[in-house]
């Protein structure tokens, strides 16, 4: 009897199997990130002089801070719209028959099955000066001059909300599906109306799904380069485009790197707020 096989812990195999992916991440994610950090710590475009000049520049420049602020705000708005519109769909999904469930899940997934570029162009057709909305409103005589929908914050939020909706709805559907339907009946039989049942039972128990959905939607919305740029146009500048301009057009790689790092930290901060909320919600109870 050999001694080695007996002493071998079966759980140790897991690490070895994860090695290829770990290596992949190391080479194509961690290394570039470190390079980015290194680059951002130079004061000149040629990356010869060390210093925090790029960060100082960003953090004292009202324009740059404005772009960061409007990007984070955009994420919050899109997340809010997705949550408010997505929750009823997820709720409905859990209360209809299997055939309707299939239809709902198809509608929810459909945006994922078409290219982001195609979806975004569809929104240009809908929101444009001669687009579907303006043409309809004008032909009905409700407005005389076309509304400005494209190239506005409103347009970007609406388009992004539609594009990112599955990221909110899918976790919500999962979370709501885990709730015992008897809890609804129990709440009702104890005298609670529908709204009390929703706010005291359904919403608290679906919080893990809400947090997951919000995190995914938020992260996707603020980094959605294509939709932001096409619907926002030249007048609306968000972090991904700002970053792209600095790197590609102006060839200011150290500043672009600093923007990336700051953006990354800002996103991490927001995501960790969500995660903390999620952890707190496990002890949710209140009075």
């Amino acid at each position: 009897m050999g001694t080695a096989p007996a002493s071998r812990d079966v759980t140790s195999y897991g690490m070895g199997l994860a090695a290829p992916l770990a290596l992949f991440f190391l080479v194509f994610f961690v290394a570039p990130l470190l390079q980015l950090l290194w680059l951002s710590l130079h004061n000149d475009t040629a990356a010869l002089h060390w210093g925090f000049g790029q960060y100082l520049h960003f953090l004292t420049d009202p324009f740059s801070l404005g772009v960061l602020g409007s990007t984070l705000l955009l994420g919050a708005e899109v997340t809010a719209v997705c949550l408010v519109l997505g929750f009823p769909i997820a709720w409905l999904y859990q209360r209809v028959g299997p055939r309707l469930q299939t239809i709902i899940i198809l509608i929810v997934l459909l945006p994922l099955l078409t290219s982001v570029v195609v979806r975004t162009f569809a929104w240009i057709v809908i929101l444009g000066r001669q687009g579907i909305i303006n043409a309809t409103l004008q032909s009905l005589g409700i407005i005389d001059t076309p509304l400005k929908l494209l190239y506005t914050q409103f347009g970007v939020v609406i388009a992004l909300a539609q594009v990112q909706m599955p990221l909110m709805t899918l976790p919500l559907i999962t979370a709501l599906g885990r709730i015992d339907p008897n809890l609804d009946d129990a709440s009702c039989s104890l005298g609670a109306g529908s709204w009390r049942t929703f706010f005291r039972v359904v919403l608290p128990l679906s919080l893990p799904g809400v947090i997951a959905g919000c995190t995914l939607t938020y992260a996707a919305a603020i980094t959605a380069f294509i939709t932001q740029s096409l619907i926002g146009g030249g007048q609306m500048l968000f972090m991904p485009m700002y970053l792209y301009q600095q790197a590609s057009t102006l060839q200011n790689w150290p500043f672009a790197s600093a923007i990336s790092i700051i953006f990354l930290l800002a996103v991490l901060a927001v995501v960790s707020v969500f995660t903390t909320l999620g952890r707190m919600s496990r002890g949710y109870g209140g009075a």
């Binding site: 015992d180 008897n182 809890l183 009946d185 129990a186 709440s187 009702c188 039989s189 104890l190 005298g191 609670a192 109306g193 009390r196 005291r200 039972v201 608290p204 128990l205 949710y284 109870g285 009075a287």
Partner: protein, 364 residues
């Protein structure tokens, strides 16, 4: 907050419910339940007993008929305004709320302030003998404890009717008996009219003042446990409640109180016409419980051959094959040294008394 409403009556008046597909879930159910009674709705799964419970609670609107609680017809009231307490089979405690908050949930919905809620929750937790559990979460409690909390939560709203849906099915046998005693004690203390849905006949017979036996959506019999067990009105009740031997035969002569039946197994016995009048020459099914058959030494009764004897502690059950090839079970009390019967021994069997054999018209 109204004072205790325990003891309100419940009338189920000609309630019929059809599924959207058109199939009948329950058909023309009539129950007249006095205030403070414990009633068991007994039947196999799929008999419509849970549907009936959900109709009474207001979760399902019946197709026809009325539900009357006390003096009020409650058909128009949604479940949250019927003041009907329910204990669910899986307890359905709110997993994110503490035990105290679970019990106080119904009071919060009625706008009772927090201090009163906590005081009342504590009082009820003491009533169900869990005074120290108020700050725990449901998942930290055992099954039996969760059930006590579910009871306390249902009682907190001072319901006019208490509905228990298969309340003991998830508990192991010893705990089940404890909880049955506990529920009966609480019911006696509170005097609340209680309806227990169950498929367990022992549970129904031991806990309920009256038992309603349902089969295929129809009410088969509604009576005291001894009525249901000793004077079953239908063949279904006779065979579903307790064990019973079914012996086919032909009516020789019959009046209202007694019928002479020639069993296919080969004897003429006197039986009670249990399911209404019998006609001479008609086919009947005679039900005799295993404990109501005895071995006889003379030539009365019918002949059989012993197949197997099973000593079950206090009783011995013998399996006997009769002349027509059907099997009957005979249960003998084990008094002193009950002699074991050899397999293959020829015996003769007869009912203990004519009133203990029930004859029902045979259905094809």
């Amino acid at each position: 907050m109204a004072e205790t409403q325990g003891g309100r009556s419940l009338v189920v008046d000609a309630v019929t419910h059809r599924y959207p597909s058109g199939a009948l879930a329950v058909e023309n159910i009539n129950l007249d339940i006095k205030g403070g009674e414990i009633i068991a709705l007994l039947g196999p799964s799929g008999c419509g007993k849970t549907t009936l419970l959900r109709i009474i609670a207001g979760f399902i609107a019946q197709s026809q008929g009325r539900i009357i609680i006390g003096d009020d017809i409650v058909d128009a009231l949604p479940p949250n305004r019927r003041a009907v307490g329910i204990v669910f089979q899986n307890y359905a405690l709110f997993p994110h709320l503490s035990i105290s908050e679970n019990v106080g949930y119904g009071l919060a919905a009625r706008g009772v302030d927090k201090a009163t809620r906590q005081r009342e929750a504590q009082r009820l937790l003491e009533l169900v003998q869990l005074p120290t559990m108020s700050e725990r979460l449901p998942r930290q409690l055992s099954g039996g404890q969760q059930q006590r909390v579910a009871l306390a939560r249902a009682l907190a709203i001072k319901p006019s009717i208490l509905l228990l849906d298969e309340p003991f099915a998830a508990l192991d046998k010893n705990l089940r008996l404890d909880m049955q005693i506990e529920v009966k004690r609480l019911q006696r203390v509170s005097g609340i009219t209680t309806l227990i849905v169950t498929h367990d006949q022992e549970e129904a017979l031991s806990m309920a003042d009256r038992v309603a036996v349902l089969s295929h959506g129809k009410l088969e019999q509604f009576g005291s446990p001894s009525d249901v067990y000793d004077r079953p009105q239908t063949l279904f009740v006779n065979t579903f409640v307790g064990a019973s031997n079914r012996m086919p035969g032909v009516v020789v002569s019959a009046d209202r109180t007694a019928a002479k039946v020639r069993l296919d197994a080969g004897a003429e016995i006197i039986a009670r016409p249990a399911g209404g009048a019998l006609t001479e020459g008609g086919r009947v099914t005679v039900c005799i419980r295993p404990e109501h058959l005895q071995f006889v030494g003379d030539e009365t009764g019918f002949a059989g051959v012993v197949g197997m004897s099973l000593p079950l502690g206090a009783t011995v059950v013998h399996e006997v094959t009769t002349a027509d090839g059907s099997g009957v079970k005979v249960s003998q009390a084990r008094i002193g040294e009950t002699r074991a019967l050899e397999s293959g021994a020829a015996v003769r069997l007869a009912p203990l008394a004519p009133s203990l054999a029930n004859a029902f018209p045979a259905t094809l």
